[in-house]
């Protein structure tokens, strides 16, 4: 069969309740594929999922119902025959598939075997926490009789109860000397690649197809990370460039601050929605839809001191880092309105939390106005936690049910160059003498250029490095 004409067919088989559907959800990155439940016989028919390559289906996975009574089925199959002709396992399976009685007694097993016989290869999924029992050996016997290459896949290997050794021995006794460890709930980052590479070894004739699939997986991952980081850079630029003029009165300032904070939250929500849909997850499946923005960890409010501390950003540091990068208030406005010291003080004080206030230009000061901007610390916090969100989503299996929870690891706070990000955002933050002069000429900084610069910085984040390299096991 030419791989170009027809897609390769691979059936995923195994005992009931071993996570076949979960494995396929992870492999196809489709969290809605099939039905998953902790009960036998959740999958009650054969369901296919195509893997596209250059817009054409290149590989079709078949999710099959679980085999539930292999012991009795093997018993039955071994009675097939007229006592004269010698039948091997394959002959018996073929006769079994013709047998109308078998189709009612072993309805599910019949479907599995029909699909197995129509496939080019089989993935045999086992739960590595299970003991090897006679029924498993009989399952392997039946699959062997289908005369198709079988790749045993050991699932739940991340569990401490997993014991792969007896399984590997059983596989070897059936002449299966290749197997794959694959945890569909917390899959290895290069899980799809590992699967394709191993299948490429098992099905040597189709190796070009599998290496193409493997390359496309890497490419898709790079594209995703690239797109997500670019949109995060866009978010940072938008948040950094928020700038309102208010009357220099406490009430007006309070009101403006609340409005601006709400604006930032809304912007971040748009970003998170977009990123979740890029990764084919959805907010409503994993996070409480309404409280999502005030509860939990990573969705904690970005304007609370606690969140900033959890993200490893101290209030005031942002501005201090900014000063080091030459990004802080220019002499012109600092001299005439609030000084740099006041700025940091204002950021640290609870009243003006997260919003830096300083007179933007002389004209504003004359009009008795104040310019309010989002503080560096908040911009850094948004960047930090969303980089971590991207990394977490990239590594999350589509079979996983638990919501994304970002840990409080302090070391990740330094995963990108804070000073460089602030420097990249400086042009839109309107804080330099040069900018003041240019703005008199009517020039506005380009957000497109600032986004590109910020993206360059964010792409260097250490948590993203393993996601953007080839990362072959």
């Amino acid at each position: 069969m030419s791989q170009m004409d027809q897609p390769l067919r691979i059936a995923v088989v195994g005992h009931t309740n071993t996570g076949k559907t979960s494995l396929l959800r992870t492999l196809t990155r489709d969290r809605l594929f099939g039905a998953v439940n902790d009960a036998p016989g959740t999958t009650r028919h054969v369901q296919s999922a195509s893997v596209m390559l250059d817009g054409q289906p290149a590989l079709v996975w078949y999710d099959t119902p679980g085999i539930e009574d292999s012991v009795a089925l093997r018993d039955y199959i071994e009675t097939i025959g007229d006592g004269v002709t010698r039948l091997d396992g394959h002959d018996r399976i073929e006769r079994f598939l013709q047998d109308p009685i078998a189709q009612t007694t072993f309805e599910q097993e019949h479907r599995v075997l029909v699909q197995a016989m129509q496939s080019d290869a089989l993935l045999y999924v086992v739960d590595a926490r299970d003991r090897v029992l006679a029924k498993h050996r009989d399952e392997l016997y039946l699959l062997q009789a289908c005369a198709r290459p079988v790749l045993p896949v050991l699932s739940f290997v991340a569990s401490p109860q997993a014991d792969t050794k007896p399984w590997v021995q059983v596989f070897a006794r059936q002449g299966m000397h290749m197997h794959l460890l694959f945890d569909s709930v917390s899959p290895p980052m290069n899980g799809q690649q590992m699967m394709y590479d191993t299948l490429g070894q098992l099905l040597a004739d189709h190796r070009p197809l599998f290496s193409a699939l493997s390359r496309s997986v890497v490419q898709q991952r790079r594209d995703r990370v690239n797109a997500a980081i670019e949109s995060l850079a866009g978010l940072c630029v938008t948040v950094a460039s928020l700038n309102v003029m208010v009357k220099d009165e406490t009430d007006a300032i309070e009101q403006a601050i609340t409005k601006q904070q709400d604006g930032v939250r809304a912007l971040e929500k748009v970003f998170v929605d977009q990123t979740l849909s890029l990764y084919e997850f959805s907010l409503q499946d994993y996070l409480p839809a309404t409280e999502g923005w005030s509860l939990g960890q990573w969705q904690a409010d970005v304007f609370s001191e606690k969140t900033l501390a959890a993200l490893g950003i101290k209030l005031g540091t942002g501005a201090a880092v900014g000063a080091a990068a030459g990004a802080v208030v220019d002499v012109l406005s600092a001299g005439l309105s609030l000084g740099t010291g006041t700025l940091i003080g204002a950021a640290a004080g609870s009243a003006w939390q997260g919003i830096d206030r300083f007179g933007k230009d002389i004209a504003a000061k004359w009009r008795g106005q104040r310019a309010l901007m989002i503080s560096d610390a908040v911009v850094l916090a948004i960047a930090t936690r969303n980089i971590r969100l991207i990394a977490a989503l990239e590594q999350r299996g589509h079979a996983s049910y638990r919501p994304v929870v970002l840990d409080n690891a302090k070391d990740t706070a330094t995963s990108f160059d804070h000073a460089a990000l602030l420097a990249a955002l400086a042009p839109v933050r309107q804080q330099s003498v040069k900018h003041e002069l240019l703005s008199l000429m009517g020039s506005q900084p380009s957000t497109v250029a600032a986004t590109q610069a910020a993206k360059q910085v964010l792409m260097q984040a250490s948590v993203l490095q393993p996601l953007t390299v080839d990362g072959l096991h």
């Binding site: 195509s50 119902p65 679980g66 539930e68 029909v114 797109a227 890029l278 240019l438």
Partner: protein
């Protein structure tokens, strides 16, 4: 539809989809898949369907006409301003026109603004200057909120993407200045046709030579376009006191109009054309970015629809199980038997089983199933305890074996080992046991073993 408009539509739909309420894109996705095979084409097609569904299509028309009318209005104002500027500098013809003064007052501001526009290329700015900003802000306000605001924001975003903002706004400013200058020229033509003007240059301390040179230098280029320049004698004679000769008046009027056309109108026309050409060039280069987060997410969505999974047939019927019918009590031959099914009996349970109780060898494969069945048919116990592992799935094989064993005893109970393990599937076990008519209080070994010893319950 032009290509720029397609991208505008796509950009607007992207912005629309980022805000609530969510758009129903079912129909749009189907049409997108049918319309094209590449992602960019599909994204555009999808955006067009969604744009007409969400009323963005009319917003584009409105935004476009708002832009057109605002440009027209400002141009008309410019024309009027030009006319009044020219009238002001020419005066009411009772006084002679000071040619130098008039020329400078007409050309100073337009030329200065043109120079500033040119100078803006030296700073790396890609935006349209203060005038552009004001225009954008005003238009943004005019277009208000809702679909029209989305259309407007999308237009701004697209222009930023194309880096054509400066050229758009350049085109606009040049058009306005062009109409100002055009107004001047028209006003001068009219005024010179209908009124009697005399021309003069004045000085307190400069020599005639300076004015001769200036007038000739200014008139050099216009003269190549057919605008006459006053000859040296006329220039000299027009100093301080106006010369009322018809030839001189004609020459000066020509000279003035020629200077405004060549140093005001023509540069603006060229700048207008340059801006228009740059715009065309930049917009031709504009491509739909199919590698950003939004495009990729939609791409995934569409791919899911094409690769929609198929099933081999209707799902199999749910299992229906026979109830376990034990043997009659009078047929029983022994008291109690323990069968261990696909599990291992721990020492703690083992030690609590009475010595008279028969423990069958572990049941796992078909041989042991068969053996156990045969032993039980001989033993025919009053009470059969089947020990299973709660972590096992109660699959058909297990249940079938359980029914087979139970049918050889008067009454049967099940003991689930490891019920407290995280992987124990107690609900499923209970459901299955209930289905075959077995009691479900199966996790406490004390209760079950007491029962096994023959004490109630």
């Amino acid at each position: 539809m032009l290509k720029f408009n397609n991208l505008w539509c796509y950009e607007a739909v992207r912005l629309r989809e980022q805000r609530p309420p969510a758009v129903d894109d079912h129909k749009a996705n189907e049409q997108a898949l049918a319309s094209s095979s590449d992602l960019s084409g599909r994204l555009i097609a999808r955006a067009q369907v969604l744009a007409s569904d969400t009323g963005l299509q009319t917003a584009f028309v409105e935004a476009r006409s708002a832009m057109r009318y605002s440009a027209l209005a400002v141009s008309a104002l410019g024309l009027l301003a030009g006319i009044s500027a020219a009238m002001a500098s020419l005066g009411d013809s009772t006084q002679p026109v000071n040619v130098i003064w008039a020329l400078v007052s007409l050309l100073l501001l337009p030329t200065l603004m043109l120079l500033i526009w040119l100078a803006s290329f030296m700073v790396s700015s890609e935006t349209g200057g203060w005038f552009g900003r004001i225009w954008q802000l005003t238009l943004g306000r005019l277009l208000g909120s809702g679909s029209r605001a989305i259309a407007w924001q999308a237009w701004l975003a697209l222009v930023q993407q194309a880096r054509s903002e400066r050229w758009w706004l350049g085109l606009l400013t040049h058009t306005i200045w062009f109409s100002v200058l055009l107004g001047m020229v028209l006003a001068m033509f009219t005024a010179f046709s209908l009124r009697h003007y005399t021309f003069v240059w004045q000085t307190t301390w400069l020599s005639d030579g300076v004015f001769v040179q200036f007038a000739q230098a200014v008139g050099a280029w216009p003269s190549s376009l057919g605008f006459t320049v006053p000859d040296v004698q006329t220039i000299r004679d027009s100093g301080n006191v106006a010369l009322d000769a018809p030839g001189a008046r004609l020459a000066w009027a020509n000279w003035l109009i020629g200077a405004v056309v060549v140093f005001g109108l023509l540069p603006r026309l060229l700048a207008m054309m340059a801006s228009a050409l740059m715009l065309r060039h930049l917009h031709r280069r504009l491509r739909l970015r199919s590698d950003d987060a939004y495009a990729l997410a939609i791409g995934h969505k569409l791919e899911r629809l094409t690769a929609r999974s198929q099933v081999d047939g209707p799902p199999g019927a749910q299992e229906s199980w026979p109830q376990i019918l034990g043997i009659a009590p009078e047929d029983a031959r022994t008291d109690a038997v323990v069968a261990v099914l696909e599990a291992s009996l721990g020492d703690d349970v083992h030690s609590q089983v009475g010595v008279q109780t028969t423990i069958l060898p572990p049941i796992d494969d078909r041989a042991s199933r068969k053996q156990a069945q045969e032993r039980l048919s001989q033993l025919k116990p009053k009470r059969l305890l089947v020990v299973v592992d709660a972590r096992q799935t109660p699959d058909r094989g297990l249940i079938r074996t359980l029914i087979g064993l139970g049918s050889q005893a008067v009454s049967t109970r099940v003991l689930l080992l490891h019920p407290e393990d995280a992987r124990a599937r107690l609900p499923v076990w209970h459901e299955r046991l209930e289905a075959i008519g077995l009691p479900t209080d199966t996790t406490s070994s004390d209760v079950v073993l007491t029962w096994l010893r023959g004490n109630s319950p």
